[in-house]
Amino acid sequence: MLEGLKRVLGFTQNSPDDCKDSSSDMMSCEEVRSSIYEYIDQELDSATAAGVKKHLDACPECYPMAKFETRFIESIQRVTEQASASPDLQQRILEALAKEPDEG
C-alpha cells in the first residue's frame, strides 16, 4: 500500500498543457477523480493505473488533488493502531472456550 502512496507522491509532472490538449486516449479529469482512491489503493488494473498516472503527470488540476488525497490517506494509515487484546481478555476467552463442548 505504501508503494502506491509513494508512487503517487513520486510522480513527475509534465507540461500543464498536455492535459488540455489531450485527445481521446487520455482519461478525463472526471474519470481520474472518481478513481483516485482505487489508484492510491492499487486496486486498478495496470492499464487503467497507467492511464491515471499519465493523466496525473500531465494535468495541473488533478496533480495537486492526487497529492492532497494521498496525504490524506497517509494521515489515516499512519494511525496503524497500537491497541491489542489484553492478556486478561485472551485468557478469559481461552478459558471460556475450554469449557465449551466441541461443536465441530
Binding site: 477523480r33 489503493d41 495537486p64 490517506i73 494521515s75 485472551q90 475450554a98 466441541d102 465441530g104
Partner: protein
Amino acid sequence: VSSDATPTDVPTTGSFNDEAIPHMDAVYRFALRLAGAQDAAEDLVQDTYFRAYKAWGQYTQGTNCKSWLFTICRNVFLRQRERRQRHDEIVSKTAHEDPRAISREAKVFSASKDADPEGEFFSSIIDEEVLVAIESLPEEYRAAVVLSDLEDLSYNEIAEIMEIPVGTVKSRLFRGRRQLQEKLYDFAVDMGYISDASGEG
C-alpha cells in the same frame, strides 16, 4: 501432554487455537473501531470467538481466517446494535448505494487548495483525533475505512467481510473517506492548523 491454558482435547479445537486465536489482536482492533469503547469491544471479541468456535466446522481451513473472523465480528456487532437500537431512530440502515449519487466533488480539497494545496494540515492532526473522526462515521462507511486503511485489506477481502459487492465497497470507501476528510478539515480549522477558506460555516 497438552497445554493447560488452551482446550486441546479435540482436533478441531487444536486447529482453532492455531488459526483463529492468533488473530485476536486484529479482531480486537476491529471491534474497538466498531464498538467505540474498550468494554464493549472486549465483549464483542468474546462473542466473536464464541461464535467462531461454534461455527468452526463451517470454516475452510487454510483460507483467510482473519477475514472470516471479521465477518463474524461485524455480524455480531450489527445484531447487537439492532437489538439495542430497536426503539431508537437509526440512520438509514441500508443506505442507497447508487454510485451516481456519489459526489465526486472534493469539497475539502477545493476549500483548502489555496491555503494548503498539498494537505499538509493532515499531518498536524494527532492519531487520537483521526480515530475519533473514524468512529463518528456511519457504520457502513466506518467498517470499510477501518478494514481498508487500518487493517490494510484489499477491496475483495472487504467485500467478503461486509458481504457486499466490490462496487459497493468502492462507493462506501469513497463516501466514508470524503466524510472523514470533512471532519478532519473542520477539526484542523478549529485548531487553527489551517484557515477556513471555504466561506462556509
